[in-house]
């Protein structure tokens, strides 16, 4: 196994533990917004899509990449906005 892959694996495992720990203590009230927020973060695939779509020549890969950029952006923008819309409602109540 090459070094880059191994480093990746280390990062992956450690980040998973962080994910478990961070989420562990969350009141049920926030589970839906949390799922939605995490879902928006999974739109990070947009970074991968950008790298693949970035090449300045037309071939199958760039076209797939561009479609992926669009889809991942839907996930990111929609995800964060919808989460904010949900959380806004909690805010409103505090004021009243």
């Amino acid at each position: 196994m090459e070094a880059g892959l191994l480093t990746g694996l280390v990062v992956f495992v450690l980040a998973s533990f962080v994910g478990f720990e961070v989420i562990n203590k969350v009141p049920p009230t926030l589970h839906t917004p949390l799922m939605s927020g995490a879902n928006a973060i999974s739109g990070i695939a947009v970074v991968g899509a950008l790298l693949v779509a970035g090449v300045r020549e037309w071939n199958v890969t760039t076209i797939l990449g561009l479609v992926a950029v669009m889809l991942a952006t839907v996930n990111v923008v929609g995800g964060f906005l919808v989460t904010d819309r949900m959380l806004q409602m909690f805010k409103k109540k505090e004021a009243s």
């Binding site: 961070v22 995490a38 879902n39 929609g78 995800g79």
Partner: protein
């Protein structure tokens, strides 16, 4: 120059990852949740901006077209969606995220194959993983969306020889993978594996009932994170690996919490349709109870509520579907004006996802210190004068406590039957999602108030005003 730039990009990625972790952490507390979401969004912006600095990213115009189109679609969808449809929305966002990961995996495999003529063993392996997870996420999410939206039947779909067929497909996938690992030059095999992955997603969700879809959406959310991670491995990009792993882990925890709330192991949710043993005994335990019930009209109901000292409202999905939450809030504030202590009892799986009911009530301006979790409110029910059940059924069925033949036996419930009186607003005497009769409805101190939640609640509001 370019090494400085690359270091800068990596540092920006590090900042973005830190913001994601902080954001997720803050999303866990009501006071900071909105800020947390904002931080995560800022992290995403930094990650995207940093990627633009990468010197291999040159195709700006078309990328901008893609980003603008995606942003517009996402923003419009996020604004338009009704709060009751939230699970579907998360499902479909999830699906497109998975699709993006799968497309990148396919594209990168294609590029490496066409430029070097072959693909290294480890790269092929990760590409297969990425396509598999991404593909399953895509079609699984789309099917979950279709089920939740009512586009296809919500009941479990099974067909003859389904299991042998699945195993055959799995065997085919494994054989194809091994072949591709040895001879990666064969793009036809790779495309076949992609197709099988897409089939897997559909076949995986098809036999799961509509009521369990939120668990599926949550699990697929976890998958979409893992798919992003796989893409990170393919491209050697740490940002993708970290963010994907975070989502993968958090999605798994949430799925676990949901299953716990329904007192069912995850395997039962996913493969329950094949077991068949849990559903068969449905009616057996309910047969011996005396099936007479009392029904009242809204005037009588308003009197019971208005002259009570304490009222606990138990909202269920029926209330949400009828869009009655605003009426319920109005009723509650009328009652509070008359000096009645009003609380809301929220079952962990009320609504369609954990916390979904809280969001729906929040939308109707219900103060969230009035919302009580199951464990907190259950100790109080014996001191409650009237429990008002609106469109909830299985979550208040005492059979879950008493009747070990019942399919819902062992599921934690709200102890509505311990209140002095219970008023149940319901369309008819039909059974709930689990298909089980509810002995609560036949108790002496329970009265039924038939009608659609919205009509009944608005009638109650005007009757209470006249008291």
């Amino acid at each position: 120059m370019s090494t400085y730039l690359n270091t800068g990009i990596e540092l920006a990625y590090l900042a973005a990852a830190a913001l994601f972790i902080l954001g997720l952490k803050k999303l866990g507390s009501p006071a900071t949740a909105r800020q947390g979401n904002f931080l995560a969004a800022v992290g995403m912006l930094i990650a995207i901006a940093a990627t633009f600095l990468n010197q291999s990213v040159l195709n700006y115009e078309w990328i901008l077209v893609g980003i603008i189109a995606g942003s517009l679609i996402g923003a419009i969808a996020a604004q338009k969606v009704a709060m009751t449809d939230m699970p579907q929305m998360v499902g479909i966002f999830n699906g497109v995220g998975g699709a993006a990961s799968a497309l990148v995996a396919v594209g990168e495999f294609w590029r490496v194959l066409n430029t070097t003529g072959t693909v290294p063993l480890d790269a092929t392996f990760i590409a297969i993983l990425g396509v598999l997870i991404g593909g399953v996420t895509l079609t699984g999410s789309l099917l979950a969306f279709a089920k939740l939206q009512g586009l296809i039947t919500g009941s479990p779909v099974t067909f003859p020889f389904q299991q042998p067929f699945n195993f055959l497909l799995l065997a085919g996938f494994l054989a194809g993978s091994v072949y591709l690992l040895i001879k990666p030059e064969n793009p036809a095999i790779f495309l076949t594996l992609t197709t099988i992955s897409l089939l897997f997603g559909a076949l995986f969700v098809l036999p799961i009932g509509g009521g369990d879809m939120p668990v599926v959406v949550s699990l697929l959310n976890s998958f979409s994170g893992l798919a992003a991670s796989a893409v990170g491995f393919i491209l050697g990009n740490s940002m993708l690996i970290v963010a994907g792993a975070l989502v993968g882990a958090s999605g798994l925890i949430l799925t676990q919490i949901m299953c716990k709330a329904m007192n069912r192991p995850l395997t039962n949710v996913l493969f329950g349709a094949f077991g068949g043993d849990s559903t068969a005994v449905g009616g057996a335990g309910g047969a011996e109870i005396d099936k007479t019930y009392r029904s009242i009209d809204s005037e009588e109901g308003a009197m019971m509520l208005g002259y009570a000292r304490s009222v606990v409202i138990v909202p269920g999905y029926g209330m949400a579907v009828a869009q009655a939450q605003h009426g319920v809030r109005e009723l509650a504030s009328q009652l509070e004006k008359m000096g009645v202590d009003v609380k809301y009892a929220i079952h962990p799986v009320a609504g369609r996802m954990p916390g979904h009911m809280n969001v729906l009530l929040a939308e109707a301006n219900v103060a969230y210190d009035r919302l009580y979790d199951m464990d907190d409110i259950n100790t109080e029910f014996d001191r409650v004068d009237v429990a008002l059940v609106i469109g909830a059924n299985d979550v208040v069925n005492p059979a879950a406590r008493n009747d070990n033949h019942s399919p819902i036996y062992g599921m934690p419930i709200l102890d509505v039957d311990k209140a002095q009186h219970a008023i149940v607003i319901k369309r008819s005497m039909r059974t709930g999602f689990a298909g089980v009769d509810n002995e609560l409805f036949y108790k002496d101190k329970t009265t039924m108030l038939f009608g659609s939640a919205q009509d009944v609640v608005s009638k109650l509001v005007s009757e209470v005003k006249q008291l």
